[in-house]
């Protein structure tokens, strides 16, 4: 640290101790070009971790609207406080957008890094139990997106039947979270999934060569990943590449992954980068050098574009906490260059399409002296959230394979406009929080939830939260540090 480095306290918040998971006060500090979360457990000491590297984007992200909405029917009461009462509790500030249903804890890989700590010896969720959870979801959750997850969901032969169970209840967007191994090897299985109603394959895709896959997943998977994409394309399934970015392993491949995606459009609809989080099965206690933050992903994307895209072409999510994500949509030209799709940045650097009423009321205008948009104090309405609805539509619009816009003489201007989607690539990122980085302000606004056996809904980062020794707050299965080492 130099003598002239900026040190500025930004805000108070809360977090947990990575050792005992007790809720403790925390502070956000700007130190140099980083924002750090700093906290002290009375029993286990002080922890300081970088959560945002690149101060230039921190301000504009914070100005994004923070529209809140309460869950219509809280399943748990506030007792110990966040994050110990998840269900959702009345203190949660956002409704569900995407709900994960873990249909198995089995997996056909044994990755050195796995938030679910899955292996070959798990169990499948019985179909009647799946139906019970879906019924509860349909009764209380509205029109959420359903992501079938695990474990590795494609180890189940009856996965197409599970997709039909989801569809039968009226859920209109079904994502499949997969490593792609079975999709690569069994075209008939892929066709059955598409026929059953899968909209989008969320494909674990950490890099473009076998070395990256070997280090993160313990196997050579590059050829299988490409085969999986081909198989999906053959049956009209949209694919989103989902790279886990680990510093020193694949942070140098961000541009190569984008090029790989572009070469496989329109089957590949988007790349959704996920900087590594240290929960579940993980190899070490993270240091600063093991962290990669969202602005670093955006910076790598901007560098890769060689000047055709800029920071203002990305924006925070519309429903989750702004510091949890970024996204942008880009038109790909004939030589693979990226260009913004036309969202016009305002003079504050935040896209105009974020200028919704909540922002206008809170800020009072663009570039004025008014303070950044403040959360609505009462935790918002229990009505279906327009922000969550918008987030759902954004994802469905970009991640599903583009519908044919029609061609020839029958095509009209509407068709031609819709056809441009085929040349549109989504680039986005999401920062999941672990026991070191967890900021309860962010967690309370989480809109990605996991549905539990008793129909409780647990925010994703709370569900996967594990302490320094691998003990889980919510997952039924826990692992020990010894087991990881073994």
């Amino acid at each position: 640290m130099s003598c002239c480095e900026r040190r500025l306290k930004l805000a108070d918040t809360e977090s947990v101790c990575p050792v005992c998971l007790e809720t403790i006060p925390a502070e956000r500090w700007a130190i140099g070009d980083e924002v750090r979360l700093i906290k002290t457990c009375p029993e286990h000491g002080r922890f300081s971790v970088p959560v945002w590297r690149g101060f230039a984007s921190y301000g504009p992200w914070g100005e994004a609207a923070r529209a809140h909405s309460r869950t219509p029917s809280p399943a748990t009461a506030v007792d110990r406080g966040c994050p110990h009462d998840c269900g959702l509790c009345p203190d949660h500030r956002q409704q569900s957008c995407c709900v994960l249903l873990e249909v198995t804890s089995r997996c056909d890989l044994a990755c050195p890094v796995c938030f679910a700590s899955a292996d070959r010896h798990g169990r499948d969720l019985p179909l009647d139990e799946i139906e019970r959870r879906l019924d509860a979801l349909a009764a209380g959750g509205g029109r959420v997106h359903v992501q079938l997850s695990g474990g590795e969901p494609t180890v189940r032969d009856d996965l197409p039947e599970i997709v039909r169970l989801v569809r039968r209840r009226g859920f209109d967007f079904v994502q499949l979270n997969t490593n792609g191994v079975r999709l690569a090897l069994e075209p008939d299985y892929v066709a059955a999934l598409a026929a059953a109603g899968v909209d989008c394959v969320f494909l674990q895709f950490d890099g473009v060569d076998d070395e990256v896959h070997r280090r993160l997943r313990g196997a050579k998977l590059a050829r299988l990943k490409d085969l999986a994409i081909e198989r999906c394309g053959e049956v009209g399934l949209g694919v989103v590449l989902a790279p886990t970015i680990a510093p020193g392993v694949n942070d140098g491949q961000i541009g190569a992954i984008v090029d790989h995606a572009i070469a496989r459009m329109p089957t590949v609809r988007a790349v959704h980068f996920q900087p590594i989080s240290y929960f579940g099965r993980r190899p070490l206690e993270p240091t600063d050098a093991d962290r990669f933050t969202l602005p670093e992903v955006m910076a790598a994307l901007i560098r890769h574009s060689r000047g055709t895209i800029a920071l203002q072409d990305f924006h925070p999510g519309s429903a989750e906490n702004p510091y949890c994500s970024f996204s942008g949509r880009f038109t790909v030209d004939d030589v693979g260059g990226l260009h913004p799709t036309g969202a016009k940045p305002s003079c504050c650097g935040v896209p105009d399409d974020l200028e919704r009423p909540a922002r206008a009321e809170a800020v009072g205008g663009c570039c004025g002296d008014a303070p950044p948009a403040a959360p609505i104090e009462c935790c918002g309405s229990t009505r279906p959230s327009p922000d969550v609805d918008r987030a759902r539509r954004y994802v469905a619009g970009q991640w599903r394979q583009a519908a044919s816009g029609g061609d020839g003489e029958a095509a009209d201007a509407f068709d031609r406009f819709l056809a441009t989607r085929e040349r549109t690539l989504g680039l986005s990122g999401m920062a999941f929080q672990d026991a070191w980085t967890l900021d309860l302000d962010r967690l309370r606004q989480c809109h990605i939830h996991v549905v539990e056996p008793d129909a409780r809904m647990i925010p994703f980062c709370a569900f996967n939260l594990t302490d320094r020794d691998g003990r889980s707050l919510y997952r039924a299965s826990t692992i020990s540090a010894e087991a990881v080492a073994g």
């Binding site: 036309g342 539509r393 619009g397 029958a410 201007a413």
Partner: protein
């Protein structure tokens, strides 16, 4: 009868105000700053344009949502 554009055949539609049969014609639909020249049945007298329910809740809705989500 609904044709490929999702619009009803013009000959079967009468303008309620003018009592004139609608005729196919080029119109310009616009939304959020973007214009779309399309052929739809319109009244030759008052210019009333007929948009079928299928078109409004189908392709046109998809275009509107795509523009809103930009």
């Amino acid at each position: 009868m609904i044709d490929a554009l999702g619009s009803a055949a013009s000959s079967s539609l009468i303008c309620l105000s003018c009592d004139a049969p609608l005729e196919p014609g080029k119109i310009e639909a616009s939304y959020l700053g973007q214009s779309f020249p399309v052929d739809l049945p319109r009244c030759p007298k008052c210019g009333f344009v007929y948009v079928s329910e299928e078109l409004a809740s189908g392709k046109m809705l998809k275009v509107e949502q795509a523009l809103e989500d930009k």
